[in-house]
């Protein structure tokens, strides 16, 4: 009792003291508050800044790749050069020496150059693809033979880079890939109005090539298509089956708990390990072909499987039990309940998960290196069994190349890949928005 009154007596004195101490601390504490808040904002800004820098760099590097410097050449298609026998068969036309025709056309533009070495240097201005362009033109219309036609053929990548201002004519001659003469010739061509900057269609129609100006992403795109087709065909049904089983049918025992833990951990296994699995099992044990989209698709399917399973289970969980009870209540079997009611209701969520999983697979590179999809492949793959590469691997290959022109093409490929990813994510967002319901 005594102590009780003691407290009561002490408190009125203590109360203002505590309040004063609080008041005295306020300034310092609010400063700390502002500092902390500023740190948070700075962190967010840093993340957004990084994103901005990354996208800016990629886009700025990519833009030049969408144009290609071309030369307008007047070529005379002498019949005696192309088809001396006059048979006009496709075989004869395709084996003619078009390079000579091009060389003659180019020499016509520079009658002052007679030195052999210089003429070779002059010819080096043009891409080796120039002859193919001419051949294809003639093959498409043999009636042109004997006429003088105007064709646009690509410059070599070094010239293209020079035209895009990648290096300076004033720079030290040893450090730039073009000689003084070559630069002078190019400038003369420019003055005559024969140089054009065209949209780079090759980038979208060609396969890979050793020459940057002839390289395109079409082969990689088709390879990606086959790979994704295999991935989707395998992972989507398996993932939905697994999700439905675990969420709707599985008894709660140690075995299913093990499967659950296993799936969660599998989702976090580094992708390169899946590549090792593909190499050891699909290539060495089953003897499937190297570099094939089939194997790539299988590996990516196993990799995306846990991602889609987890998303699908979340979608199934979101369907309220009342739906199941209602269906069971009218006498539907468990399987009927699940497949007639629960799965259709969860389908948008599952599809969203599948699309996000596919987007993940679309950008994956490392496991595909393991199974040989990193080879130099010129041909457009015709089936899931033919050798192919995919977009991200193509990006990797090109950005590793010493030619500057490959780097910008690699950036262009990134832009296209990001475009696909954006579309896929948008579809996922729209799906989620449109079908999302709150029960």
């Amino acid at each position: 009792m005594n102590s009780e009154t003691g407290h009561a007596a002490a408190v009125p004195a203590a109360v203002p003291r505590a309040a004063d101490r609080v008041a005295a601390s306020l300034k310092r504490r609010y400063a700390a508050e502002r500092r902390f808040r500023a740190c948070g904002l700075a962190a967010v800004c840093f993340a957004v800044f990084c994103l901005g820098v990354l996208l800016f760099t990629v886009f700025r590097t990519a833009i030049p790749a969408f144009t290609q410097t071309m030369i307008e050449l007047e070529v005379t298609l002498y019949p005696q050069e192309i088809d001396p026998a006059g048979t006009r068969t496709a075989d004869a036309i395709s084996t003619a020496d078009y390079q000579k025709l091009i060389r003659d056309a180019l020499d016509d533009l520079f009658p002052d150059i007679s030195d052999r070495r210089q003429r070779r240097e002059l010819m080096a201005l043009l891409s080796p693809g120039a002859t193919y362009t001419l051949r294809d033109t003639v093959m498409a219309d043999p009636g042109l033979i004997g006429r003088r036609i105007t064709v646009r053929v690509p410059f070599a990548d070094d010239v293209d880079q020079f035209a895009k201002g990648r290096f300076d004519a004033a720079a030290d001659a040893a450090s730039r890939p073009l000689s003084d003469k070559q630069i002078e010739w190019f400038q003369r061509l420019e003055q005559r109005g024969l140089v054009h900057h065209d949209f780079n269609t090759t980038l979208f129609t060609a396969g890979d090539s050793r020459s940057p100006e002839l390289a395109g992403i079409w082969g990689a795109l088709v390879g990606t298509f086959w790979t994704m087709l295999v991935t989707m065909a395998i992972s989507f049904p398996l993932a939905i089956g697994a999700a439905v089983y675990l969420e709707e049918f599985a008894p709660k025992n140690r075995w299913t708990a093990l499967i659950e833990v296993n799936i969660n951990n599998l989702a976090a296994v580094p992708s390169i390990v899946f590549g090792l699995l593909g190499l050891a099992v699909f290539l060495n044990v089953f003897g499937l072909p190297r570099s094939a989209p089939l194997v790539g698709g299988l590996v990516l399917a196993l990799m995306t499987l846990p991602i889609i399973i987890i998303a699908s289970r979340a979608a199934l969980k979101a369907v309220p039990p009342s739906i199941r009870e209602a269906a069971l209540g009218v006498g539907a079997s468990k399987v009927q309940t699940v497949f007639h009611h629960v799965v259709p209701l969860a389908m948008p969520g599952m599809l969203t998960g599948a699309i996000l999983g596919m987007a993940h697979a679309l950008g994956e590179t490392a496991p595909l290196l393991m199974i040989g999809m990193v080879a130099f492949i010129v041909d457009i793959p015709g089936s899931p069994l033919s050798a192919a590469t995919v977009m991200p691997v193509q990006i990797y290959l090109w950005s590793d190349s010493p030619e500057r022109a490959f780097v910008e093409r690699s950036a262009a490929a990134i832009v296209i890949l990001l475009g696909f990813l954006v579309v896929m994510n948008l579809v996922a967002v729209v799906l989620r928005r449109r079908f999302e319901r709150k029960w």
């Binding site: 609080v22 699995l277 987007a359 691997v393």
Partner: protein
């Protein structure tokens, strides 16, 4: 595309089976004036199951086994002098045979040419056999199932059993994948450890996986001490976490506690974009923008920064992990009950005091779990380091120097021409095994912590 023909045939047969089963069920019910146990279509599906499933299994088994069986038979029929070649050369020879068989050209070597022809003939025979067997199996199944049909047959239950079994099979695939990973890694790694002792691998300080081409070659005996790789991996992962941890955590705090809802709605998708960018793009960014930037900045400041410095790879990897850390932290921070915040505000704490002294300690297990997952991701990340970190196995913790990582070495050892038996190739699997074990350990711990944490507030 012969397989497409097989599958098309099978599809036609099963479609016919469905129709036959369904109509027979209706007919028997009408004749016997009995009610069918199940809906008619279930009888159709019952026939489909019997018709399609066995032949599909046969097809899969055939496709899996055909290549090895064909190889055995082809090699067996080779002339004895080729057949007795060492295993590696025999493998090369067989590859030749297969390539010629596929390409259809003519080979200079008559042995190869003959074998290729034989190989093609074998494949054709095998295909015909498969076709015949599949058709027979499908037909037999169809007829047998159709005979079974009577109104009393519990078709729905049978079909549902099959469906459940299929569901179980698909959920087991994930387990099989894990088993496949573990077995293949252990098997190949153990072959490696037969040649290189485990202790040399785990504790050796020198890494140069070149193998002497000739026995008398100097200095290229191959060294498989993985410590420089482990150190390199840890250095890069550490740099990455130094970037990702503070930025990710602080931005999660800011977005969860301070940001206006509209600001959050605008920023979160941006972070998701950062998370969705393929790693190869980060690698491109690291190699072409960040690494030169650091090298130039370093030379301005008087440091010698390698163009393949650990710093560039680590920083870019950190940027990649920011959204990962941020979204995991966001989850655990928002999971802290509102009553904790109110309790703290009610005592007169400012917002930052509440966050630092109540929310973060309360969310700490979850945050740590998230960090462990992020570390495991940093360790397993491949493309950024392949493109931006070097191949030189320097044993250093200097972030300005080039280091190499476990994943880089796996990738370089296995890319390009490789014979499968050399220690060089097998070393990749040993490294893979280490990588798998470490990341698995981190994940198991992290997931357990996070699960425990979630339970605490449920």
């Amino acid at each position: 595309m012969h397989i497409l023909i097989l599958i098309a045939t099978l599809l036609i047969l099963t479609a016919a089976g469905f129709w036959l089963g369904r109509s027979r069920a209706v007919a028997t019910a009408a004749a016997g004036r009995r009610r069918l146990h199940s809906l008619p279509s279930y009888y159709g599906w019952y026939v489909v199951v019997w018709c399609g499933l066995p032949s599909l299994l046969l097809l899969l088994a055939w496709l899996a086994l055909e290549p090895s069986v064909l190889q055995l038979i082809t090699i067996d029929s080779l002339p004895p002098e080729s057949r007795d070649l060492p295993a590696a050369q025999l493998g090369l020879l067989f590859n030749d045979i297969r390539n010629f068989a596929a390409g259809g050209g003519t080979s200079a070597d008559p042995v190869v040419q003959a074998a290729a022809d034989r190989y093609n003939a074998l494949r054709w025979t095998s295909y015909l056999m498969l076709f015949g067997l599949m058709a027979a199996l499908a037909l037999a199944g169809l007829l047998w199932a159709r005979r079974q049909i009577s109104p009393r047959l519990r078709a729905r239950n049978r079909v549902e059993h099959v469906i459940t079994a299929l569901l179980i099979v698909s959920s087991v695939v994930a387990v099989l994948t894990t088993i496949g990973i573990v077995l293949s890694l252990i098997f190949e790694a153990s072959r490696f450890f037969l040649r290189v002792p485990l202790t040399d691998f785990l504790f050796g300080l020198a890494w140069s996986p070149q193998i002497a081409l000739r026995a008398d070659q100097v200095g290229a005996s191959g060294a498989f001490g993985a410590v420089p790789l482990f150190v390199g991996t840890l250095v890069i992962a550490f740099i990455a976490m130094c970037v990702a941890m503070p930025v990710g955590l602080l931005s999660a705090i800011y977005l969860a506690e301070y940001a206006h809802p509209k600001f959050r709605m605008a920023i979160k998708p941006l972070l998701e974009i950062l998370a969705g960018i393929p790693t190869v793009v980060y690698g491109f960014f690291a190699a072409l923008t960040v690494a030169p930037f650091f090298r130039n900045a370093g030379s301005e400041a008087g440091f010698d920064v390698s163009s393949e410095s650990a710093l560039a790879a680590g920083v870019v990897m950190g940027i990649m992990i920011i959204p990962f850390v941020s979204s995991l932290s966001d989850d655990v921070i928002t999971a802290v009950p509102q009553s904790m915040r109110e309790g703290s505000y009610g005592l007169g704490a400012t917002q930052s005091e509440t966050i630092r002294r109540v929310i973060i300690p309360a969310a700490l297990p979850g945050i740590i779990g998230g960090f462990l997952l992020a570390v495991s991701r940093a360790i397993g990340e491949t493309m950024i380091v392949v493109m931006a970190a070097g191949l030189a196995a320097n044993l250093t913790v200097n972030p300005f120097q080039a280091v190499t990582t476990v994943t880089v070495q796996i990738a370089t050892l296995l890319v390009g021409d490789q014979e499968f038996d050399s220690p060089k190739t097998l070393a990749a699997f040993a490294l893979g095994l280490v990588l798998f074990c470490v990341t698995l350990g981190l994940n198991v711990i992290a997931l357990r912590i996070v699960t425990k944490y979630r339970e605490q507030y449920e």
